[in-house]
């Protein structure tokens, strides 16, 4: 029997959005455009236009050991070229942010190759080879996984995901990496670790409330959908917890 992934339970919009993001067969809506140079600037790992520093010689130039796994798994472009491993870290607001740490990790694991995600309560980091990272980051910024006001690229000093939004609708950022311009466009003035950029990087206008609510993958009983209202999700989570508790004692369902 062919396995057909279900991605997740739930009947709510949030659950549906979670499945949408995770399912690699669904192409996510492209909401904005950023250039490759913009991405390089915000990541801050190398100067735009400079060559990729390498951690080892390209795979083609070195003798690889006889290994069946290497024959099965094709190396990513970054690994082939011997790029360094670098990171990007995202923070999503709990106020209808378009994604959240676990969701990002699941999504990336389904959609990307050669990654090492790190999932924390308020932030999610993903590490991979530099040129792969730039391509993945670009996708993460351009699609509906990103909202200029409610999502932020923060390498360090990430505090803000659970705080009330600022008056202008942006998520609190101690380092004020992005600002809302007079024209309503959010622009990054610092890279992800908080060093000022040579030029502003525009990431578009914040999405309106209806869009944010419709695309959110986080339950919030005050500003969005309430977790308790999704009975299927509750049933699923109760089952997981019941089996976890019984595990080691009598891991069977009655």
């Amino acid at each position: 029997m062919a396995y057909k992934p279900q991605y997740g339970p739930g009947t709510s919009t949030v659950a549906e959005n979670r499945r949408r993001q995770m399912n690699p067969d669904i192409e996510l809506e492209k909401v904005r455009e950023v250039t490759d140079e913009d991405v390089v600037l915000v990541l801050g790992h190398r100067a735009p236009g400079s060559a990729y520093p390498t951690a080892h010689p390209p795979l083609a130039e070195q003798q690889e050991p006889e290994c069946p796994i290497r024959k099965i798994v094709e190396a990513t472009e970054g690994a082939k070229a011997g790029d360094r491993v670098r990171y990007v870290q995202f923070v999503d607001s709990m106020y209808n942010g378009p994604s959240q740490p676990y969701q990002r990790t699941y999504t990336e694991c389904y959609r990307f190759r050669g990654i090492d995600p790190g999932t924390l309560s308020g932030r999610q980091i993903v590490e991979c080879r530099e040129r792969d990272l730039e391509a993945y980051s670009k996708w993460l910024i351009e699609t509906e996984m990103f909202d200029p006001a409610l999502t932020s690229i923060r390498g360090a000093t990430v505090h803000g995901h659970s705080l009330r939004l600022a008056e202008d609708g942006l998520m609190f950022d101690m380092l004020q990496r992005c600002i809302l311009g007079e024209d309503g466009v959010v622009r990054y003035v610092k890279d992800q670790i908080g060093e000022p950029l040579d030029r502003e990087v525009l990431v578009g206008k914040p999405q309106d409330d209806a869009w944010s609510k419709g695309k959110s993958t986080i339950f919030h009983s005050l500003v969005g959908e309430s977790y308790r209202d999704d009975e299927e999700y509750i049933e699923y989570i109760v089952r997981v917890h019941t089996l976890r508790t019984k595990y080691g004692f009598m891991p069977t369902e009655e």
Partner: protein
């Protein structure tokens, strides 16, 4: 220790205020007579990057600026999340409520005015004792972080 318990209240807007709005609101609030003490809370806006690879580098931030309240100038170190006030009696809280109703109606986001007795310290804690000693002015307790050098700001009455 304060001799009597004074009523306290806390203004909690749904959105965190920008320096301009905070300045405007505080200037309206200080015009009300009968406010004993006032405290601004919110997440810190450090002068330098506190951690990460850029640690120690300057952190330019438009939300951290000098504001003028009454006749006193001071630098906002936080993004204003709530304002706690200790007042002489309950009628002052109603005046504050009326003022805030008008202010936040203009802002288009709601706020909460919570009232109670213990939003800010009224008694010296062990830390206060270690910092200020036994003969501390009760008006200072709970107003500033004892670890910081800067003291409270005195805003003159009308």
């Amino acid at each position: 220790m304060t001799e009597a318990d004074y009523p306290q209240c806390r203004i909690v807007p749904l959105r965190m205020l920008k320096p301009d709005s905070s300045e405007k609101l505080l200037n309206l609030v200080v015009k009300i007579s009968g406010i004993r003490r006032m405290m601004i809370n919110g997440p810190n806006l450090p002068r330098t990057v506190p951690y990460g690879p850029a640690r120690g580098k300057p952190n330019p931030n438009t939300n951290r600026r000098v504001i003028t309240v009454g006749t006193s100038d001071f630098e906002l170190h936080v993004q204003v999340g709530s304002i706690t006030l200790e007042v002489m009696d309950d009628s002052v809280i109603e005046e504050i409520r009326a003022l805030c109703d008008a202010f936040f109606a203009e802002k288009n986001f709601p706020y909460q005015l919570q009232s109670g007795r213990k939003f800010m310290k009224t008694q010296a804690s062990l830390t206060d004792y270690a910092k200020y000693g036994p003969n501390v002015d009760p008006a200072v307790i709970g107003l500033t972080d004892p670890r910081k050098k800067e003291g409270p700001i005195i805003i003159q009455g009308r």
